[in-house]
């Protein structure tokens, strides 16, 4: 295995970490007004992700940095090409981050209502846009021979990418609803279970539609053949398993299954891409690949050493954080946020 492949895998790992962890943060943020009827309830909901959301978000910053370091052309083409979409996402993430921290620091109900809107907006926009972005990377966008994106913002809003966006949205909603069921108690937890049961079927249908349209609307069929292999099937299977665990009331296992679903979905997309990182819809030869978009072997070597040392360390202390904050939160709890 060469270093270019290793870095392709590492970027996939960073995205899996990001979507599994930030996925429930986004879900929790979007469900805030639906789940929380009173101010205290809303604070409970925000406090379920309070200690961890910031650390979770770093996964995407690291993914961005890793793409820059390992595949500079991917970084340059993706972020300049998807300019307005990324701008919208950055605004959403900025507002969301500040909203978590500032919301409960003043008592005025109007102040809190505005930041609540910020949390919803800041969670909803990225939850959709990440699906749109990955969909477009896979489907192909107009990229010329010089690796320049030559389309417009509206070229990104094609049916396949929108299906991708709605799929990621529904996956994160389900993931977040299960998380809230696990992390809250009493009526809030019941409400989260009720929402889980309603969102679950929608998510399952969306993931199935996404898998089918990936076959119909991208070049995956011609590349992978009729049998998609075990990964996409297992991804959908994890959702059925999640439904089973919700049914028998084992929500911890259900959460594990939605995590597996998210992880395998990312792997599916990366497998369909490989060895490309951005597909050109103009000419297959103009696609960015892990070879023509990459850094020099020297840089990849240095970055490999750094990543293989620090990713395990990060995983260790973040796991410990989840252990420290493993308990449920109730409306009687002392609330930090």
């Amino acid at each position: 295995m060469d270093l270019n492949i290793l870095w392709f895998i590492l970027v996939a790992v960073l995205f899996i970490g990001f979507f599994v962890l930030e996925g429930f943060d986004y879900g929790v943020g979007m469900l805030l007004p639906i789940m929380g009827k009173t101010d205290t309830e809303r604070r409970v909901i925000i406090n379920t992700v309070g200690p961890v959301w910031d650390g979770n978000e770093v996964w995407v910053l690291t993914a961005g940095g890793a793409i820059f370091a390992a595949f500079p052309h991917w970084y340059a083409t993706l972020f300049s090409g998807f300019y307005l979409a990324l701008f919208l996402m950055l605004v959403a993430l900025i507002i969301r981050a500040v909203a978590f921290e500032y919301r409960s620091k003043a008592e005025d109900p109007k102040w809190r209502a505005w930041w609540d809107r910020g949390i919803v907006f800041g969670s909803l926009i990225p939850a959709i846009l990440w699906g749109v972005a990955l969909g477009n990377m896979l489907r192909g966008v107009p990229i010329d021979a010089d690796m320049h994106y030559v389309g417009t913002f509206f070229d990104l809003l094609n049916p396949y990418a929108i299906i991708g966006g709605l799929t990621s949205l529904s996956m994160f909603l389900l993931h977040g609803a299960i998380f809230l069921n696990l992390k809250t108690s009493g009526e809030l937890s019941e409400r989260a279970l009720h929402l889980t049961r309603r969102i679950g079927p929608v998510t399952t249908v969306m993931v199935a539609i996404f898998i089918v349209s990936t076959y119909l609307m991208t070049d995956s069929f011609s590349r992978l053949g009729v049998n998609p292999g075990p990964v996409p099937i297992a991804s959908l299977g994890a959702l059925f398993a999640a439904a089973y665990f919700v049914h028998i009331g084992r929500l911890g296992w259900a959460f594990l299954m939605t995590s597996v679903n998210i992880g395998l979905s990312v792997i599916t997309i990366f497998m369909a891409l490989f060895p490309r990182v951005m597909v050109s819809s103009l000419d297959p030869a103009w696609s960015l690949t892990i070879y023509n978009a990459s850094s020099s072997p020297k840089t990849l070597t240095i970055m490999s050493i750094v990543a293989l040392i620090f990713i395990p360390i990060v995983l260790a202390y973040q796991t410990w954080t989840y252990w420290v904050f493993r308990h449920r939160i109730s409306i009687e709890s002392e609330l930090t946020y």
Binding site: A69, I94, M303, S330
Partner: protein, 464 residues
């Protein structure tokens, strides 16, 4: 309108705004860690109150610093795609390492610290704030490694039409890093020190309960010591940086001094009104030989002037304008240095009062320290504007021009939209930040209403 100009404005606004908050996060996390260490070792409740009070302000500041930092990670790709392609092999590595080593550390442990007051053993909880402080320091190091490459490109070779890494060690050992990083770190300590001094002074001027008075008296002591160390450090490091700059970026120094002609010995201008198009002075006050002294520690030695440097650059790189804005360089440099020396004066007086145990003896001085909170902010902002504007027209000094680095396919309309968008969002956020800062900085600990919104005082009931 020119897309390069818009992209530069956007970068300037988002970065100066981001760096408005960063130094306080770096410096204050260190001071809070020191306060909590004293509490841990002595058990003195005053230091616990101090930790919580300053910690709260740190959190408000940290949140917006982190949020506005997100843009920085992506903006190179968005607006400076050609630059990213050209230097990504070198420039991306420190950014990715910064995220892996520092961003994870500070974000994760800040969450642990904020929510872990009663969930973690005291020693572990203390370690968390140290991790945050260490994380911010590591972060500043790696971003300055990246930034230094733009000022003094080292350890690279031009291959495959781009700059490729030749030596990672050279990138880290870059002399520019080792003058810039200490200067920036000391500036961060100054920022936090004057923040603590100013807010403490505000409270010490008012009637306070005994506990409150004790708390702000001790905060003032820590602030005064930190301010003194920070200001001395920032001036010494700045001096080293200026001498280094004359070697590697003589044009920036010449512009900072509006030194049109090469002179030996070179005078230092205290005040110049110049006509930049004609490249000549209209009115000037100079100290003979001082610039030579600053450059070489003796009152002689030639300091190259703008006209010679421009001619030299044209001979090397071909026709073009290689002179940065002399007006901006000259005045931002003076604002920075002026603010620095004003801080030195205030820090010396503050330390004198602390050593004489007469902190509250001069209400006028205490009053003066409140607006002085702004001095480090002025110095931080003008210092960076000077450093980066003085690098122009280069994006990588001597290697790539700024207008060659801008994204080739992002249109003027898009950049204008994002520029306006970011600016409006940032204006709204700063209003909220200032509002909260004022609210919490004014609250005397022990007098605020007991509510559950602050770091919890007892553990949450654990029920699964």
């Amino acid at each position: 309108m020119d897309v390069t100009i818009l992209a530069r404005w956007q970068f300037a606004i988002t970065t100066v705004y981001h760096f408005f908050f960063v130094p306080l996060s770096i410096g204050l996390s260190l001071l809070v860690a020191i306060m909590q260490t004293v509490y841990f070792r002595s058990g003195n409740e005053t230091y616990k109150r101090m930790t919580k009070f300053w910690g709260k302000l740190l959190l408000i500041n940290f949140a917006i610093g982190v949020a506005t930092g997100i843009v920085q990670e992506f903006q190179f790709g968005m607006n400076w795609a050609e630059y990213s392609r050209f230097v990504g092999d070198i420039f991306g590595a420190p950014l990715a390492i910064e995220a892996l080593m520092a961003f994870f550390l500070e974000s994760t442990f800040l969450g642990l610290w904020l929510f872990g007051w009663n969930k973690l053993p005291k020693g572990v909880h203390l370690a968390c704030i140290w991790m945050v402080a260490i994380g911010t320091t590591i972060s500043s190091f790696w971003i300055l490694v990246a930034n230094s490459f733009m000022h003094q490109p080292v350890g690279y070779v031009i291959r495959n039409g781009r700059a490729e890494m030749e030596s990672f060690g050279a990138l880290i050992a870059n002399g520019h890093v080792w003058v810039q990083w200490p200067h920036t770190m000391m500036a961060a300590i100054c920022t936090a020190a004057f923040f603590v001094l100013g807010i403490s002074a505000y409270h010490l001027r008012r009637p306070l309960g005994e506990a409150g008075h004790e708390m702000f008296r001790r905060s003032f002591q820590i602030g005064a010591i930190a301010a003194f160390i920070g200001v001395i450090g920032v001036i010494l490091a700045g001096h080293a940086q200026a001498q280094y700059m004359i070697q590697v970026q003589p044009m920036k120094m010449a512009a900072a001094e509006a030194l049109w002609e090469t002179e030996d010995p070179a005078p230092m201008s205290l005040f110049t009104v110049a006509s930049t198009p004609q490249q000549r002075d209209l009115f000037v006050i100079k100290v003979p030989g001082l610039l030579s002294f600053l450059a070489y520690n003796r009152f002689e030695g030639a300091v190259p002037g703008i006209k010679d440097l421009q001619a030299e650059a044209e001979a090397t790189y071909g026709p073009g304008n290689y002179t940065p804005s002399v007006f901006l360089a000259y005045w931002t440099f003076r604002a920075m240095v002026g603010a620095g020396f004003a801080m030195l004066g205030l820090a010396v007086v503050a330390l004198y009062f602390v050593l004489r145990n007469r902190i509250t003896s001069s209400p006028a001085f205490l009053w003066l320290l409140i607006p002085a909170i702004g001095l480090p902010y002025l110095a931080n902002a003008t210092g960076w504007i000077f450093t980066e504007m003085g690098r122009q027209p280069w994006i990588v000094y001597g290697v790539m021009l700024t207008n060659e680095g801008v994204s080739a396919t992002v249109g003027v309309g898009y950049v204008l939209l994002s520029l306006i968008g970011f600016t409006l969002v940032y204006l709204g956020l700063i209003a909220a930040t200032v509002f909260l800062m004022l609210k919490y900085a004014r609250q005397v600990p022990g007098e605020e209403p007991q509510s559950s919104k602050q770091p919890s005082l007892r553990p949450a009931p654990a029920g699964d």
